[in-house]
Subunit: 337 residues, 2 copies
Amino acid sequence: MPRNKAAVSIRDVAAAAGVSVATVSRVLSPASADIVVREETRDRVVRAINELGYRPNDLARALLQQRTSTIGLVLPDISNPYYPPLVRGVEDAASQLGYRVVLCNTDRDPAKTAAYLDTLVKARVDGVIVAGGNLSELPGHPRVFETYRTKLVMVGRHGLAHPSVRVDNTAATEDATAHLIGLGHRGIAFLGGPEGSSTAQDRLLGHRRAMAAAALPTAERVAGFDEHGGYDAARSLLTGTPPTALLCANDRMAFGAYAALADAGLAVPADVSVVGFDDVPMASYVRPTLTTVAVPTYELGRAAMRLLQDALDGSAATEPVLLPTRLVHRASCARLA
Amino acid sequence: MPRNKAAVSIRDVAAAAGVSVATVSRVLSPASADIVVREETRDRVVRAINELGYRPNDLARALLQQRTSTIGLVLPDISNPYYPPLVRGVEDAASQLGYRVVLCNTDRDPAKTAAYLDTLVKARVDGVIVAGGNLSELPGHPRVFETYRTKLVMVGRHGLAHPSVRVDNTAATEDATAHLIGLGHRGIAFLGGPEGSSTAQDRLLGHRRAMAAAALPTAERVAGFDEHGGYDAARSLLTGTPPTALLCANDRMAFGAYAALADAGLAVPADVSVVGFDDVPMASYVRPTLTTVAVPTYELGRAAMRLLQDALDGSAATEPVLLPTRLVHRASCARLA
């Protein structure tokens, strides 16, 4: 028996057994059970496999079975602490189900997104999970997926004819703003994520609804979904009569707002109350601790992978799956005197 | 021409051209240029390919060429904000070089690491980049890699016979501690990462060297590499005579230490100076801003991918590649009165 088993190819097995490579494939592949291989031939192949110590590789098996046991996970920005738990959720479920995860980071760039989707479908991944990002990032994607029949699951998006899982961002910010109004706040500004982000739009909508219901005017700022964006947006609100509360479209923006308030000599929550969104780990470690909307990010990832498995099994839900959010009350909000 | 090109298989082409599948493969694969296909046969195959609109898929090509254009990236914890820029660096370089990246998150679990490496080599990835984590996580890995001839590059480890890229963690903490000593601090505690992490060990070693050079005793705490670990470790140091400075093995631990100090009514840097390690984005947004060792994480990722490409080209460096760190002076350190 040769020592380096990896060096033994299917061709070696075919030669040793005196059959064609196709015959060895037929013996190996459960998918070709309907193709008859004579018992005597089969025995010869199995004997050659054992004698040579041949291990069929996953790639060859994938080609024969037309599946790769690999899925793609496309997301806008792995640097955002919102995404790691989602990646972990997808990865843990995928691992249990026997899939590998190819991670693709689009940087919210439509060209990069399109290139990744093209690469993924050409690599014949079994499915793709697209998380977050802008709707405009996926120009003509349905055609790509129709052509290749690759299964697609969306996380955090809606309005597309694919299985999806998300939270109700609008209801969550409506609740958060209502909470601030309940504490007596009237000047509540919304620090929103980038335009074109459906998540940011949904969160803005909820804020507007709660403000409209209370007949209050709303101040809004559009900025990047990170500390830098939150810092600049908060600073631009601190001229004239500053708001008494800030609702931030995510926690990173809230951390930036904390810094801007500190630099302006304003105390949280004595001068300004702050609410975040996502409940990333750091939300418990800033001082004061951040009141924020907890998103079950890890569960979103797991649910997406399970939806993808359902789709691959031909039994995908058509209704979007909604997971609950929860306003976590910490120390960054105070009742207005 | 059929509308669904993906449905056309190499078998269809072979049938249309009246040749074997192997012959179509030979025409398609540049690797088999030494195998003669008669010109007339070749023309017939090319005609069939064009008429049917056949697109050879990457998987089939990979099998023929024995390469997958995929690499594995194995890391301990994607939730640590240290890693996203590294992932981005690997991914950007990989994308330029025509590789896809399969991300694997080991959670510092030896069994999980072994399973991922096994999966990756069986999937015939062209190479694997292993970043961070514990040395003990890779039991017997050299044998696996020898057997499968998959190329391996290490990030942030040393002492193994593979191409590697890292920073000099020991020199960096030696400098950082010397800086604190220069500011007049004598009671400088080290908040270290988990035992078994070679990075944590190297950082501890540098701290010890600087303290020994100044003939100062050192207080040390071992804890998780995150806010929670930093919080608990800092709190345990605040009984009796607290240190006047904390050197933290990473920024997340420093953020936890900030919280513990705030909760104990101690001010940074008036009461306690704090130094972090990594320079994650949040280090600029905590107040006071965090003095920390900047690690060129993105560049580490890019360099690792380039080393892997060199290894695949058969021209890998044997000497470890060292990238420079830099102590970034911010507001969390004060001269001791």
